[in-house]
Amino acid sequence: MARDFSWLFIAVLGAAAFYFALDFKFGTLANVGSAVYPLILSAAIVLISLYSFIFSPREEPMPTNRRAFLSVAASVAVFILLVEAVGLLPTVVLSMVIAYGGQSERRYPFFIAYACVFSVGVWLIFSYALNLPIPPFRLP
């Protein structure tokens, strides 16, 4: 029987959580410590995952849209790296252009113009209406 390795991945996560929880306080039955609840949860995750890994048949995962996945993840990563370094407007435009790369259309001049207009709108809403202290530009 083909195995579903996603179960094994979750079992490893559960085992890691169990291992780290061993360092928390156990307490007593009358004064349960901070270790008990995460230990119960992580043990349940490990047991169910291992059972399913061994006994459940493998189900075909949905196909990956690798380009969409990479462009969306990269777009957010760029936002994290740049927003405080260069300000909101250039970050929004760059993140949107990277995200746009997740599909096949390539009308970049039009999209960059659209992203510029959108970035100004986002800055106006979040800075003025919602008082978010985030500068439009910041020199590195």
Binding site: F24, L29, A30, P38, S52, I80, L88, S104
Partner: protein, 505 residues
């Protein structure tokens, strides 16, 4: 009645009326976009409410919720693409109606059915919540512990998909809910020395990652083109006398289904709409018309959907226990605004509770008033290509997460959760149980530990009250029914295998 009038005066305040209008409008606009559901819409707009008064903020988010649920039906009817999961069933007859040239009638009936279902749901909410609050006053740690475990099991077993996968997702969510400083013994759990994790993970980035980012990655399609052919005039929207007659009882029966399933944990609007549709098909004198454009197939599920949306607030407001992921977000929103939902909410914050109930009704009237003239606008929304929408949505998610604490750490949490959720969804793991586990986890642990202190370490104390015993029996019943179904499936598969072998011989 006096309480309701207080609520009505709160709901009629200018800022609350505007918030309700904005919520309904934005919710419908976002709900119309296929693949972006109420949960993503609420997560996206939650940061916008931080600057508002708590009542105004919650009124707006509630408007977003039922606006998105309503808006989802537009894409179901016109494109055969459900905007929200609970609108999926509307595709079955709504889209064939549109193909027959009756798109306007289907959209109009959706609006009316949503209004009828929502109004009946609000009546049930107003009557049921005070009654449950009275019972809830008697709840202690033992009862809360039993009820939250019941919720976990219900979410894992009823919500479709593989119960084992759902159980694991609930437990993973609960584990994420333990991150941070323990209030009892001061231990830092899973914070790995990072000061960003000492307060635990925030709800908004987790919800946005689970439902926003992962959904966007899954929805990007190459060469996607949508061209709406439908021109909808007011005249073309009016149903005939026969269509009104055929829709009347289905709407009421749909509302009853919504009112029953709305408050139950793990079911919510999706289950209510499916059962309302199945029930109508069974009762109909023309079952063969279902799936080919029967108006009952639109009226009943849409009424059930909105009734369930309203009654889902019953356990949320009366006990502080969410039955659906959307309600989990609403609880998070209440807590962010410094309001603790539960039995004391009605007595401590009557203007908020009854203001919310009154605003629900006003919001349903607004849905009716703005959506009939704006159907053309929603149709034109569907013409905006997704390739232009999704980069903008990613930015709103990022800025929304960032705005929580003006920190990129929350955006990083959103990214990690979103990427993990995408991977898990590809393998059939649903994100909704994880979110419910995450939100309920602190409450479950706290009540467990309090119960053990009160019982002086006696485990039997957890089964010491009639309410907890009944709840544990219901939980056990659910687990046994899953095991029984699993066993039946195995036996059926084995007997099928035996039959195939005999035939081959």
């Amino acid at each position: 009645m006096e309480d309701f009038l207080i609520g009505l005066s709160t709901a009629m305040m200018t800022q609350n009326l505007l918030a309700c209008l904005a919520g309904v409008f934005l919710g419908t606009a976002i709900g119309v976009i296929p693949g972006i559901g109420a949960l993503a819409a609420i997560s996206l707009l939650l940061p916008v409410t931080f600057a508002m008064d708590p009542t105004t903020g919650i009124v707006m988010l509630a408007g977003v919720y039922y606006g998105a649920e309503y808006g989802g039906s537009t894409a179901s009817i016109l494109l055969n693409l459900p905007g929200t999961p609970s609108n999926a069933i509307t595709c079955l007859d709504g889209y064939p109606m549109a193909q027959k040239g009756e798109a306007g009638v289907a959209l109009f009936m959706t609006t009316i059915a949503s209004f009828v279902g929502g109004s009946i749901g609000i009546l049930v909410l107003s009557a049921l919540t005070p009654a449950i609050v009275k019972v809830g006053m008697a709840f202690g740690a033992v009862e809360y512990f039993a009820i939250i475990v019941f919720c976990f099991v219900a979410v894992a077993t009823i919500g479709g998909s593989d119960p084992k996968k759902n159980f694991v997702m609930v437990a993973l969510g609960a584990l994420l809910g333990t991150v941070g400083l323990d209030i009892y013994d001061g231990a830092e759990r899973y914070s790995f020395g990072s000061h960003n994790l000492i307060d635990g993970l925030s709800l908004v980035p987790v919800a946005m990652g689970l439902f926003g980012l992962s959904e966007i990655i899954m929805s990007i399609r190459d060469g996607e083109q949508r061209h709406m052919r439908h021109k909808i005039s007011f005249k073309s929207m009016l149903p005939s006398a026969q269509q009104w007659k055929r829709s009347f009882w289905p709407m009421l029966r749909g509302a009853a289904s919504g009112c029953f399933f709305g408050p139950l944990p793990g079911t919510g609007p999706s289950v209510a709409t499916i059962l309302a549709y199945a029930n109508e098909k069974k009762l109909s004198r023309r079952p063969e018309e279902f799936g080919k454009g029967a108006i009952e197939g639109v009226a009943a599920p849409e009424s059930a959907n909105n009734a369930a949306v309203q009654t889902a607030f019953v356990p949320t407001l009366s006990l502080g226990i969410p039955g659906t992921p959307t309600m989990a977000i609403m609880i998070g929103a209440l807590m962010i605004h410094g309001i603790v939902p539960g039995p004391m909410l009605m007595s401590n914050e009557p203007q908020l509770f009854w203001g919310l109930v009154a605003s629900f009704w006003i919001g349903n009237v607004l849905l009716l008033v703005i959506n009939i003239p704006l159907i053309g606008l929603w149709v034109s929304f569907l013409n905006v290509p997704y390739r232009l929408l999704y980069p903008a949505i990613i930015i709103l998610i990022c800025v929304g997460s960032y705005s929580l604490k003006n920190s990129t750490f929350d955006v990083l949490v959103m990214l990690v959760v979103g990427v993990a959720a995408y991977g898990l969804r590809r393998h059939g793991f649903l994100p909704a149980p994880l979110l419910i586990g995450f939100v309920l986890s602190p409450m479950l642990e706290e009540n467990f530990r309090r119960a053990m202190i009160m019982g002086r370490g006696e485990v039997s104390y957890l089964f010491d009250s009639p309410i907890s015993i009944v709840t544990w029996l219901l939980t056990l019943g659910m687990v046994l029914s899953v095991l029984y179904r699993h066993q039946l499936k195995r036996l059926a598969a084995r007997s099928l295998g035996d039959t195939t072998k005999t035939e081959n011989h």
